[in-house]
Structures are given as C-alpha cells and as structure tokens.
Symmetry: C2
Subunit: 133 residues, 2 copies
Amino acid sequence: MFKLNKTLAKDTFEICDLKLCKVLLMNDQNYPWLILVPRIKDITDLHHIPMADQADLMNEISKVSHALEKVTSPKKLNVAALGNIVSQLHIHIIARFENDAAWPAPVWGKTPAVLYSSDMSNELVKNLKVELN
Amino acid sequence: MFKLNKTLAKDTFEICDLKLCKVLLMNDQNYPWLILVPRIKDITDLHHIPMADQADLMNEISKVSHALEKVTSPKKLNVAALGNIVSQLHIHIIARFENDAAWPAPVWGKTPAVLYSSDMSNELVKNLKVELN
C-alpha cells in the first residue's frame, strides 16, 4: 500500500488528493512550492510510472501548475522530479520570481527554509484548494 | 516557426528529432545529460504545452529516459523543466550516479562542464540513436 515518505510528510502541508497524486505545500515561504506525490507503491523514477497513469500525471502537473500560477502570479514555474535524497517519486512545482532567494538558480540547496506562520500556510492552502476543486 | 535557442545549440550535440521534440546531448561528460526541446514556437513553461501535445511529450520523456537508462545504467534519472536563464522550454533528463560530480545534489551550478572528445560524444550519440530508433 502507498504510504507518504516521512520526510515529505514532515516538510509539507497537505492540500488535497487528486485522482493520482497527493498535493502538498512545502513549508518554505522563500518560494510558493508544491509537491505532487503519485499514490503508487515503491516508485522512484518518473519513467517508471505505468503507461495507464501517464495521462493522469501529466494532467495533474498541468492542473496544479495552473492553480499555483493563478494564486501566486510568478514569473515562471520550475517543474522537476529529482529524488536523489528522498527516493519516493515526487514532482516539485515551484513558483519562481526574479526577486526570490535563489533566482535565477534552481532552488535546491540555496538557502535554508523559512517556515510559514499557520495563518500564512492556512491561507495559501485554502486558496490553492479553491483553484484545485 | 520553431528555432532552437542559440545557447542550447552551442552547448549540445543533436541526437535526433522525435515526433514532438528535438533530442540533444549536453556537452558535459560529468553526467550523461539529455535535453528534450518541443518544436513549438515561443513556449517557455511545461504547463503551456497544448493539450494535444501532452501525451506525445510524456511518451517522449519516457522513451528518452528508458534509452538513457539502457545506454548508461545510472542509479536514477533526474527530470526537470527549469528555464530561468534559457527561457525556451527544454526538459533535462540526466543520468545520475552515486559517484558523480554533484551527487546527491542537483547538477546545476555545481561544477564546470567537462567537454567530450569527439570520439566520446560520437559514440554516445550513436548508442542513443540506436535505442531511440
């Protein structure tokens, strides 16, 4: 059975479950940063997604990207499946701004996370839920 | 009309054209590193891919990933659409190894590129073409 990786669970807030993926908000106010986790057991790499789930994954990446864009109006989005440290397949969708803490570099390893206050994370989760429902 | 970005052209070797994407080999022997460029004019972000092309893109990411895995036998693959500097939409597919120059960090900005000799790049391009045809 699928079980969310403990590090992903610890570092994020749950937004919702789509048909294939769990949608999470990374607890880092440096960047509006969502994570999609396909609810498939023991999968680590994007190209190991079963053929039957590929269309759903692409749809959900697109849907979540549009929601994040609507809510945060970024310069652009960065989308990535890395997983060198946390091996459970997860797809980062990150809203990037020309004045953010890492621009124009990728966000990983650039600067320590700045945690949200509960008011801030609740507000963002609420707004994203509205767009995703 | 679609035209390949000059920086992408300069930094890579052409492997082949699939139905939607141009497939390129990054000129950096630190990592076996492919780049897919959808031949669509003026597109910068993954979620702006037309619905009609989404299935082709996902198929080609999967096909190219399997080819790269077959030819290089990596620990895992990293897949990413970033484009903060080169805005033309391009998808990185990078073979990662536990003893590579950046492991376990993402590859960007970690270490200067080490260029291939022509023998090395020709051999890799040839082997990848075999897998992709």
